[in-house]
Symmetry: C2
Amino acid sequence: MNQIKRVAIVGGSHGNELTGAYLVKKFQKYPNLINRTSFETLAILGNPKAIVAGRRYIDTDLNRCFTGDNLQTAAITSNYEELRAKEILQILQPKNQEFVDAIIDLHTTTANMGLCIILSDMHPILLNLAANLTAINPLVKVYIHQQPKNSGFLRSLSKLGFAIEVGAVAQGILDAQLFQQTEQLIYHVLNYFEECNQDKLTLVNNTLTFYKSIGMVDYPRNEDGEIQAMIHPQLQFRDYQPLHPGDPIFLTFEDKDILYEGESTVYPIFINEAAYYEKGIAMYLSQKDIIHIGIRFDY
Amino acid sequence: MNQIKRVAIVGGSHGNELTGAYLVKKFQKYPNLINRTSFETLAILGNPKAIVAGRRYIDTDLNRCFTGDNLQTAAITSNYEELRAKEILQILQPKNQEFVDAIIDLHTTTANMGLCIILSDMHPILLNLAANLTAINPLVKVYIHQQPKNSGFLRSLSKLGFAIEVGAVAQGILDAQLFQQTEQLIYHVLNYFEECNQDKLTLVNNTLTFYKSIGMVDYPRNEDGEIQAMIHPQLQFRDYQPLHPGDPIFLTFEDKDILYEGESTVYPIFINEAAYYEKGIAMYLSQKDIIHIGIRFDY
C-alpha cells in the first residue's frame, strides 16, 4: 500500500469562518499538535486577506477557484482569490515534489450541520475514516457530494481530500465548543492516517450511514431576483431530518406556507446557509443511504 | 399631552442584519400594516448599499454616524455612511417639519438576546412601553444604555427612540420565527403609541426589570491586537444570566480558563456579537435592576 507522506490542513478559505482560521493559527504556533511520525502535516491559512477583512472573500469565492481553467493558465489576473488559488496549489505541490496526499479543508456553516464530513469522492479510505469518526462521535454526519477533480473545490484536488463543515455557527464568531470538537476531530483524522501508514487500520463499523446530494432548492424569488420567502420555522435547524412531500418548506413574507412538492422523502442539508443566499441555494437535498465497508484499503 | 405625529421604523442600518431590512420592505409594500389613525409611520431602509453588498457597512458603521459633528457639517464627504446619515436626517425631519416623534431602529445580533428593547434614555413613555411589552411576551428584555443625543446612534436622535435587537441569529440570514416575533413586537409598539395619543394608556405592570449597562469587556489580545481566547463555553448564549466573580469568562486557544475577576455579580449582554470583534467588545456588562413605573406619561 502507498504511504501518506504529506497532509494539508487548510482553514479560513472563507475569511468569516473563524473556526478553521484560528485552528490553523494554533497549529502553526504548535506544530507538534499535528505532527505524526509517518507523515508531514502542513497548516495553511486559505484566504489571509479575507480573514483580515472579516469577509467570505475579497473578489470571489476561493473555494470555487480550484478549477482546471484557473489553475492551468499562467495568465495574470487581478482577482485576489484566483491568484491565491494558484499560490495554494504551489504550496500543495512544490516544484519537484508530489501533490499532498490528503487535504482537510475546514469550514463552518450557519446551518445546523453538527460535525459534517463532506466527501467529493467515495474513496474506501475516506469511507472507513468517516465510519470511524461517526463511531467515535455521534454528532459526526457524512455528506457525499460527488465532484470531479478541478471542479473548483479545494478538497477535490486530492484523492484523500474532504471538508469538515461544522455548525450552526454565525459568520464572524468563534464558538468555543465547536472549536474544540473540530480540533478533536482533526486529531482523530491524523491518527487514522498514521494507522493507515502503519497498516493498523481496523474496521470499527462495517456499515456507514451517509447523505448523498441529489440537488438543491432556491428561495422563491421575484423577477428582480429578490427572495420572497424564508426557510419555514418547522424546517429551520432540522438538517438531516426527513422532509416529506407536503411538508412546509418556506414561509412567505405574507405568512403563507409553501409546501415541499417533491415526489419522495428527502433529507435537506445546508438549510439557511448565509453564504448561499447569493448562490441561489436555500438548501441542498440529499438521500439517506447505508453503505457496506470492506476491509481492504488501497491508497 | 403632546401628540405623537410621526414614527419612523428603520431597518437594515446594518446591511447583513436581514430581519429589519425585510420587515421594512414588507411595510413599504403593505403600508396599512403600520398605519395608525392618529399618526403617520415611515418605513426606511437604513443602508441600501450595504444591504445589496450583504455587509454591515460599506465604509463605516452607519449607526455610529449620527453624531453632532457629522450631521451639522455641510462638508462633502466621500464616506457612504456619513452621507447616508445626513440623508436619513432629512427624511426624519423634512424642511419646515418637526423631527419624527419616535424612532424604532431594528437590529439583530449573534448574541442570545431574545427580543431586546434598547433604550438610550429612561423616558417614562418608553419605560411603560417596555413594561407593556415584557408583560405581553416574556422573551422581551430591556437594556438601558444611556447615551446623549448626537452620540452617533440613530435611536438617540429622538426622545422616543429605541432599538429592537433580536437574536441569536447569524448575520446574512432570515430566521422566520424571529422575523415574526419582531413583526408582532412592532405592531404592539405602534398600538401603544396609538393608545398614547388617545390617552388610553394603562399600567399593566408597575415595576420593570431591566439591565443597565455598566461597561464592556474586550477579548484577551496579543500585542498585535489578535484575540487570544474565545467566549467560554459556559458563558456562550447565556446573556442576561448572572456572572459571578470567579466564573469562567474566556477559554484560551491553549484550553485554559480565564475567570471573571470583577468584585460583584454582573449580567453580560451582547456576548459574542460578531460585529463587535473589530470594536474590541467581547460583551457588555450590565446590572440587573427594577424600577417603579408611575402613571403619568407626559410627552
